[in-house]
């Protein structure tokens, strides 16, 4: 309905590219790993949004999740950084060319254990960036130890029982004044894809906490990071569709009063079809509340929890040139000889 990209798999989108041109190297992750599904949705979203791969930069930390940027968008620059320290790396890099869209893929260990501080501070700065946490409750790459998002009481063979309450990535993002917060589930590809599209259009930090089961180490029935639990308990706040800028919305596609629309900074729209209740994603307080409720009721609340499309970004503090910073040349960067003479005269 609102999917404006071409339909066929081998067809060319308005960027002149086939879907295949958005692919990455073959995945080396386990078969069935949630992270692979998410990579596929990133590919689909970028293809459908007609994004030019060269206008995207990919970042990650260290972990199975953090490997995945190699598995999509080969034609984008990428940087697989240090464990827990992707936020700073990405923030610095984005200044190089703010016309490039940044996307980071991290894990729950990477962002909630070692990286909690950097994650929160990046969020606080509201840099335009799509920050995906592939959340499986364990350290996959080091063989299944509990991460900070692991369920309290979870028992794993080699690890014993986790005594701590989990860190809630979305709550952390909200409290840090994130301007776009969403939760989803790798097993709900349609929602993942639409959220990624919206995130790419958001002018600010967009945090996506995606439950992404680790089939090798943490997929026990009945535990919160498993496919089965997530499937059973997923409670979407709405049905989400993304409409790109300049696309006509066929408002009569929707029964009056059954949708909410949020216009993002670039003119694109997020159409939220109401489900049980009417959820307003521009109310930060409601977002916090629905998370608390979800926790109390064992719901996996998914969807766009919160968005503030117009909050100032970090770039607003810097009066940056239109030309990408990294293309400026010597004459634009080195002040004149005379100016140094003036400085010398001032120095005594």
């Amino acid at each position: 309905m609102v999917d404006t990209a071409v339909q066929g798999k081998s067809q060319i989108n308005t960027a002149g590219l086939t879907r295949a041109e958005y692919r990455g190297a073959p995945s080396t992750l386990c078969q069935g790993c949630g992270h692979n599904s998410i990579a596929n949705q990133i590919i689909a979203a970028c293809y459908e949004m007609n994004i030019v791969p060269e206008k995207v930069a990919k970042f990650s930390g260290i972990g199975c999740s953090s490997k995945s940027p190699t598995y999509f968008l080969t034609r984008s620059f990428g940087f697989n950084g240090l464990h827990g320290r992707m936020p700073s790396l990405a923030l610095g890099a984005m200044f190089g060319d703010i016309t490039v869209k940044g996307v980071g893929v991290s894990g729950d260990g990477d962002s909630a254990s070692i990286g909690l501080g950097q994650f929160k501070h990046m969020v606080r700065r509201n840099i335009p960036f799509v920050y995906i946490v592939e959340n499986n409750g364990v350290y996959g790459l080091t063989k299944g130890q509990f991460s900070a998002t692991a369920q309290k009481g979870l028992s794993l063979k080699k690890q014993g029982t986790n005594p701590y309450l989990p860190v809630d990535i979305c709550m952390e993002a909200l409290i840090a004044n994130a301007t776009f917060v969403a939760r989803s589930f790798a097993g709900d590809p349609k929602q993942v894809k639409e959220l990624i599209k919206a995130a790419f259009s958001h002018n600010g930090i967009a945090v996506l906490d995606i439950i992404s089961p680790c089939v090798t180490f943490n997929n026990q029935e009945g535990t919160i990071h498993s496919y089965s639990w997530a499937k059973e308990h997923e409670t979407p706040l709405h049905e989400i569709s993304y409409v790109p800028p300049r696309d006509e919305i066929m408002i009569d596609d929707f029964v009056e009063g059954t949708v909410r629309e949020v216009e993002l900074h670039d003119g694109s729209m997020v159409i939220l079809k109401k489900l049980e209740t009417d959820y307003d994603p521009t109310d930060r307080w409601q977002a916090i509340k629905v998370l608390e409720e979800g926790q109390a009721n064992n719901w996996l609340v998914t969807g766009l929890l919160y968005v503030d499309p117009e909050f100032p970004t970090i770039y607003d503090n810097y009066n940056l040139p239109d030309e990408p910073l990294n293309r400026l040349q010597e004459h634009q960067l080195r002040p004149s000889r005379e100016s140094l003479e003036k400085i010398n005269q001032m120095m005594w």
């Binding site: 060269e54 930069a57 990428g78 700073s88 080195r334």
Partner: protein
């Protein structure tokens, strides 16, 4: 309280000749009391009189109320290093006065606030009382400023007794208060009042005089941190991330201020450099590394504890080959150490930083002027080498005001290194039959071509990582690939020696022994060489300006009988690196190193060397 004229009478022999433009005044105050303005006003005034000066602030690691010292050295010969003894003490802090007087030379001078009860420890000194409180009170100053302004009383008294030109003092105040007339006037009035009071009430009994000279032409007064920031600005810095830490903060803070003055594009009115205060040093180096990767001239500035936190990222920078400039304005370590004291003790750590086999270019500025120069040059080297470049300054150099030759405009165009934009890449591909790899050594110098984020050429993108990778930046765990890649990277550090500053050689006739030193120990070394020569020990001197070492260092070692390695740390860290690299000459090396929190002094070096030469 001793009678003022008494010690004077039987100690200072009037027959002794005057001492002109060659002495050290130490101001003993408490921090947060506003004495900094007074002290720097005096420094500037004397400098304006054409007399070489340097100032060293010895301050505590707190904000207010603890003893602080400021040593102002006047040196007609242009020696700028620390001296061990004071000639004149300005005693405003009663809690330290006993110890302060201990540091005075025989027959030295004490200017003291007249509400302090003088100790009876020294009767060889000349004592001048100063009615600081009274004059400040009578001046009818705004009550919130009175305590700060009161320091102007000693400025006036000293001006009168030593012969400092009041006009220059006014100019200095004008400079300090950026022309704010009311402030200048209020301060200057008190100076003048105090000078008048001194003229009327004090009789000159000491032999110290300031007399105008013409020895500061072509020189400026500046601190190393500001100079480093200015250097970076002229080096085209585009991104700086930092976290506050003494004594490095003022580098980033200056940079931040300078950007809005010097780096607004006149055409677009836009800002061409972004300064980000990070949440800590791990984040600062992360941001700087990201920016360097994205093609920006990028830097961070910190001190020891921050450098420790940067270890992991620097290894990534080395291995993923990312240009970034890291200033370490050293303070006394290990650990938190003495945060407000100076040292040169991060050298070996910087050299071996990060796990695995690594290597780093380290620049070693020895003067404020060189802070400026290395401030811009560091970017050229980093982008040429595609690797982190460390600049090791220190508190003494970075935070103190120094007389230094004026900054010279970069004598070379920027070297952006082997960076390829769309057209460059296309040309290379055309030349090479479509072959380009991020880590492919085309030129055989170990340095490979890079594209950066935002390049729109379809072949430009690659994936950067800290894990094993082949010439095309693909992931690899292959043994040979690993080994060859590491060997190529090591080769870059040979190549780069053509770009890094060579050591500076200074020779004396008949010298058979040598001195090697670096950084802020330089002024003390230069002065000690004069002392040594006067005592019949001429020396040659090689000042190391960068690591890895150039072959000139080996030559110097080979051509001297003994070589003294002088530095401000405990273990002799440069000595260690020399030993490592020139082990065959090691029997010639003599360690002259200590760490006390203070800059080295020429007399200490003189004693050490002459002792060993004896």
């Amino acid at each position: 309280m001793p009678n003022i004229s008494k010690p004077n009478e039987h100690q200072v022999e009037q027959t002794q000749p005057p001492i002109i433009n060659d002495f050290c005044i130490t101001f003993c105050t408490v921090n947060g009391s506003g004495s900094a303005t007074a002290n720097s006003t005096l420094l500037r005034s004397i400098f304006k009189m054409g007399v070489p000066v340097s100032g060293k602030n010895i301050f505590p690691s707190n904000i207010q109320g603890l003893p602080t010292w400021y040593s102002l050295r006047v040196s007609r010969d242009g020696f700028l290093g620390r001296v061990e003894k004071d000639d004149i003490v300005v005693a405003v802090n009663p809690t330290t006065i006993v110890k302060d007087l201990d540091y005075l030379v025989e027959g030295g001078v004490v200017f003291y606030a007249d509400d302090i009860s003088l100790p009876l420890t020294r009767d060889d000194l000349v004592y001048y009382p100063m009615p600081i409180k009274r004059l400040a009170k009578e001046a009818n100053l705004p009550s919130n400023l009175r305590d700060y302004l009161a320091n102007m009383v000693y400025v006036g008294v000293l001006a009168q007794i030593l012969g400092i030109d009041l006009e220059k003092i006014k100019q200095s105040l004008d400079f300090h208060f950026k022309g704010k007339l009311s402030a200048v006037q209020m301060n200057f009035n008190l100076v003048a009042t105090a000078a008048n009071w001194a003229k009327d009430n004090l009789e000159k009994k000491d032999r110290y005089f300031i007399q105008p000279m013409d020895a500061t032409k072509g020189y400026i007064l500046a601190d190393g941190n500001t100079a480093g920031a200015i250097g970076a600005i002229y080096g085209g810095v585009q991104f700086s991330a930092w976290y506050p830490i003494t004594p490095a903060s003022s580098l980033a803070e200056s940079l931040n201020e300078l950007v809005s003055e010097l780096r607004i594009d006149p055409k677009t009115g836009k800002q061409t450099c972004a300064v980000v205060q990070a949440e800590d040093e791990l984040a600062a180096i992360g941001m700087a590394t990201g920016a360097g990767w994205a093609g920006l001239r990028s830097m961070t500035s910190t001190s020891g504890p921050g450098l420790s936190l940067m270890a992991e990222y620097l290894g990534l920078g080395y291995f993923a080959e990312i240009p970034v400039v890291v200033w370490d304005v050293q303070r006394v370590g290990p650990s938190t150490g003495l945060p407000t004291r100076t040292a040169q003790s991060d050298l070996t750590f910087a050299n071996f930083i990060s796990h695995g086999d690594t290597n780093f270019v380290i620049l070693l500025p020895a003067s404020v002027n060189e802070c400026f120069e290395m401030g811009w040059r560091a970017f050229d080297i980093a982008e040429r080498l595609q690797s982190p470049v460390l600049v090791l300054s220190d508190l003494d150099l970075g935070m103190n005001q120094w007389m230094t030759p004026k900054f010279e405009y970069p004598d070379q165009p920027m070297d952006r290194g082997k960076i390829l934009w769309e057209d460059d890449l296309q040309k290379l591909l055309d030349r090479s039959g479509g072959k380009w790899g991020r880590y492919l050594d085309v030129d055989g110098d170990g340095i490979t071509y890079r594209t950066v984020m935002g390049n729109k050429h379809k072949a430009s993108a690659y994936f950067t990582r800290g894990t094993g990778h082949d010439e095309y930046a693909h992931y690899s765990e292959d043994a040979d690939v690993w080994k060859h890649n590491l060997e190529r990277i090591a080769r870059k550090f040979e190549t780069i020696k053509a770009y890094t500053p060579k050591p500076a050689l200074s020779q004396m006739e008949n010298a058979t022994i040598g001195i090697i030193s670096y950084g802020s120990s330089d002024p003390a070394v230069e002065e000690s060489r004069v002392l040594l020569a006067t005592h019949g020990i001429p020396t040659d001197y090689l000042r190391i300006k960068s690591l890895p070492f150039h072959s000139e260092v080996g030559d110097f070692l080979r051509t001297h009988e003994r070589v003294y390695v002088i530095e401000n740390n405990q273990v002799g860290q440069m000595m260690q690196l020399l030993t490592l690299n020139f082990c065959k000459e090691v029997t010639k090396l003599r360690k002259v190193a200590e760490t006390t929190g203070l800059a080295l002094s020429a007399t200490w070096i003189y004693r050490e060397i002459s002792g060993m030469e004896a």
